[in-house]
């Protein structure tokens, strides 16, 4: 790798990685973990899509399909995108961007990586104990009755929850206490603000997931009956518990991606962000509002009419700050000096796909429409547009952007663009047809479907192969870049934020002398 003393080579050996307290190394550990899980989750997705290629049993029976579908969802949510941006990119970039030597609690930081590994380990052990088939939402009473290995998966998710809590806690304290001299709150890059908003959700919502999962375990082991109608419990209450966490969780997934996009747009248009403060407050208000809207997942669950109406109205509000962000980004491009490098392509991909995901989110929030769309492929398409088209685009864009900082080397620009092309195209081919399928009523979590749905499903399956090609190209590009790429220089993009002022890769304690901040952000 790059020459000179830096965080990558100042200590050697496996142990120096596994017991490292350096936030940058921990970030790299997360990188390896998250992309490995992404690969596993992706393989499950491909298997699912092959099964759905044609009517009848294509490669697996419906029981196996339910298992694969559950693992795909659970892996992607708990092991890929929730740790994805905050724990991987955030860990690496956050202290650099605010001019700190490390995060506030380095040991806790390492611990949260171990929580992820151990939790994921426990959850994946279940594969050998019979698997799970409840869907990633674990709805009771099915998850109580299902004779599959629900307990290990739930326990694993519980442990991974602590990983997320600890990361969030660490970031809040780091941002409050460890900013470099002169780094006022409103001089912080927007990525930092987005991580801050995310961390608030992580700290305040995840504990409710923890207790929900504990209750589910108690339900299965002790039969406490709180969510079991046979003992007087209310299964719909479980859904309240679950979504009180899991709706805010979707903003854990998207807020950091939005932060990445802000950075990319500022860097590749060489502009100050239009409406910096508006974006800051939009992030914070999305975080706050995210706690008010969970009931929109329960419009047909048996939740009361009034609760439905209230939740529908509250949900609409979340769209406003999101719209503000989108318009601000577009305005930032106005009169910029714009270069179409791979990271910006991903940012543009984000804008387009997230926009579609967002407007279909509003259709889902419209209560009567959701009655029709709920649990159909329309929802599946919506959340892939926001999660893959939004968060995964964000993580890829951010990765390509900070790649030279992480490894001191450059990837091949041409290959990077090709990979974007395949991912973007394949993505739309895979998931756009699913909106139409959803509108015509195809239910989700179906291992098989009726004849009229077949042609669009085939299109979708072919699309999933295109995405795969895209990700494989990306993987090759990045691996080649790490080992053989040309030396990148400290600031290859001409970006203005602090992380670009130290060397690439950065030294062990980030900056040789503590930076003094005298300018506003992006100046």
């Amino acid at each position: 790798m790059a020459t000179g003393k830096n965080y990558l080579n100042w200590q050697k050996g496996i142990a120096s990685w596994l017991f490292t307290l350096d936030h940058k190394r921990i970030g790299i550990l997360y990188m390896i973990t998250v992309f490995s899980f992404f690969f596993v989750g992706g393989v499950f997705a491909l298997l699912m899509r092959i099964e759905l290629f044609s009517i009848g049993e294509t490669i697996m029976n419906s029981n196996l399909y339910n298992h694969i579908m559950t693992y795909h969802g659970a892996i992607m949510v708990f092991m890929v995108i929730i740790p994805g941006i905050p724990a991987f990119l955030g860990n690496f970039v956050l202290p650099l961007q605010i001019g700190a030597k490390d995060v506030a609690f380095p040991r806790l930081n390492l611990l949260s990586w171990y929580c992820l590994i151990i939790g994921a380990g426990i959850a994946l052990i279940s594969l050998f104990l019979g698997g799970v088939d409840t869907g990633w939402t674990f709805y009771t009473p099915y998850s109580i009755e299902s004779n599959t290995a629900v307990v290990p998966v739930v326990l694993g998710a519980f442990v991974m929850g602590f990983s997320s809590i600890l990361t969030g806690l660490n970031f809040i304290v780091t941002i409050h206490k460890l900013r470099a001299p002169g780094m006022h709150f409103f001089r912080m890059p927007l990525f930092v603000w987005s991580l801050y908003s995310t961390a608030i959700i992580q700290v305040l919502a995840t504990p409710v997931l923890a207790i929900t999962l504990l209750l589910l375990i108690a339900e299965r082991v002790l039969g406490v009956g709180i969510f079991d109608p046979q003992s007087g419990g209310d299964p719909v209450l479980f859904q309240h518990f679950f979504w009180f966490y899991s709706h805010p969780a979707v903003y854990i997934m998207i807020l950091p991606a939005m932060g990445v996009v802000s950075e990319l747009i500022a860097a590749f248009s060489r502009q100050k962000i239009f409406g910096y403060k508006a974006i800051v407050f939009a992030s914070l208000s999305i975080a706050a509002l995210s706690f008010f809207v969970w009931g929109h997942h329960m419009f047909v669950s048996g939740q009361s009419e009034w609760a439905n109406i209230i939740f529908s109205g509250l949900t609409m509000l979340v769209g406003v700050p999101t719209a503000v962000k989108i318009f601000n980004w577009v305005s930032t491009l106005y009169k910029g000096s714009i270069k179409f490098d791979t990271p910006l392509l991903f940012a543009m991909g984000f804008l387009f796909l997230f926009l579609i995901g967002g407007v279909t989110g509003v259709m889902l929030a419209t209560i009567a429409l959701d009655v029709h769309f709920h649990d159909t492929y329309f929802v599946v398409a919506h959340f892939h547009y926001v999660m893959v088209g939004g968060s995964i685009m964000g993580i890829m864009g951010g990765f390509f952007y900070w790649f030279p900082k992480m490894f001191g080397r450059m990837y091949n620009e041409f290959l990077g663009r090709i990979s974007f092309g395949f991912i973007f195209l394949g993505f739309n081919v895979t998931f756009f047809p699913q909106f139409i399928l959803g509108f015509s009523g195809m239910p989700r979590r179906y291992a098989d479907y009726i004849a009229p749905y077949e042609s669009l499903n085939q299109v979708s399956t072919v699309g999933s192969w295109l995405i795969t090609i895209g990700f494989i190209i990306a993987l090759v590009t990045l691996l080649k870049g790490i080992f053989k790429g040309p030396i990148a220089g400290d600031n290859p993009w001409g970006a203005k934020t602090l992380e670009w002022q130290t060397s690439s890769p950065p030294p062990h304690e980030n900056f040789l002398t503590t930076p003094k901040v005298t300018k506003g952000v992006y100046e």
Partner: protein, 318 residues
């Protein structure tokens, strides 16, 4: 135009996309309104950033951005306020339609729906029961009162644009008025286990006279006990049992009668009439070894006639 765009490439025979009720028509209007607005916004924004990106692409490596303003109160206000207004329109419109969906007309015909793994049972006011086939008259409001015997299911009729979860331990309801004769699909849309994707039913909308005629018919008239059993079995049991020795969710039932059964409790029993009867009514009491305790109890669902029929039918399986 938009409709064309959305539905092109679809080759639906019995199309799920045609709206069959007034409600479905109204819902489609709301849908088209939102799609229209969304397309406008998406195009606007997409063309906006693509245009900027090309118009202001970097000319030389050292070039910096040229924008002077970082604020524009009018712009910023309008791009928060206009979406807000649109959101509120969507919200209120959705709410109004939803209120219709929640208030069944007082003269609705009530039909009871029971979901269970993995079939739908319908009970009509005169006591007539059907499985996986719902029969309703055209042009009359019908209210479904639904509950589940085991886990949560969801009763979804895409052509009517409605659905409602069917929850154990409570009753939920749904109403519709079909304006068109024909047969329409019902899906279960809440994950309920292995048979989730096969938990389908059909709604048959027929003219009032035919329907009343149908309602009075005794479905089992002229059938032998074992034929009644076979009919019941087809509707209720095939999700989990085969009539050969092949294992599905539960054991294959061929050669069961008078066979030795090893139970989880370690006991050995002979599968006589009583055993089969208890296995159907209260399966958890005697679990066959090697199988999960997954069978939904049929107590209270099957009539005495059907139960005896099932036993007779199982006896004939070889």
């Amino acid at each position: 135009m938009l409709k064309l765009f959305l539905f092109s490439g679809l080759s639906f025979g019995q199309s799920e996309t045609t709206a069959v009720t007034d409600y479905a028509h109204q819902l489609d209007q709301l849908n088209q309104f939102l799609i229209g607005i969304s397309v406008v916004f998406c195009l606007l924004i997409t063309f906006g950033f693509i245009y900027f990106a090309i118009r202001y692409r970097r000319k030389s490596d050292l070039e910096e951005g040229h924008a002077k303003t970082l604020h524009n109160s009018i712009l910023e206000f309008s791009w928060s306020f206009i979406p807000f207004v649109i959101f509120m329109v969507a919200f209120v419109w959705g709410w109004l339609l939803y209120s219709d969906l929640k208030t069944a007309p007082a003269n609705s015909l009530e039909i009871h729906v029971y979901g269970q793994k993995w079939s739908w049972g319908f009970v009509y006011k005169n006591g007539r029961k059907t499985t996986n086939e719902l029969y309703v008259p055209v042009g009359k409001p019908v209210k479904l009162i639904m509950t589940s015997r085991d886990v949560i299911h969801s009763f979804s009729i895409p052509s009517f644009r409605i659905k409602q979860d069917v929850v154990p331990g409570m009753y939920t309801s749904l109403w519709f008025k079909a304006n068109q004769k024909g047969q329409f699909n019902v899906f279960c849309t809440e994950l309920c286990g292995t048979g989730h994707s096969t938990m389908l039913a059909k709604i048959n909308v027929m003219s009032l006279e035919v329907w009343e005629e149908w309602l009075r018919k005794d479905p089992y008239k002229g059938l032998t006990l074992s034929q009644i059993g076979e009919k019941t079995f087809q509707g209720r049991c095939t999700a989990c049992h085969t009539i050969t020795k092949e294992k599905k969710i539960g054991p294959g039932l061929a050669d069961l009668f008078k066979a030795q059964r090893l139970l989880v409790s370690g006991k050995n029993v002979i599968a006589d009439e009583n055993y089969i009867r208890e296995s159907i009514l209260n399966p958890s009491a005697q679990i066959v070894s090697g199988y999960p305790d997954q069978m939904t109890p049929f107590v209270g669902i099957l009539s005495e006639e059907e139960l005896s029929g099932l036993i007779e039918y199982i006896k004939t399986l070889k």
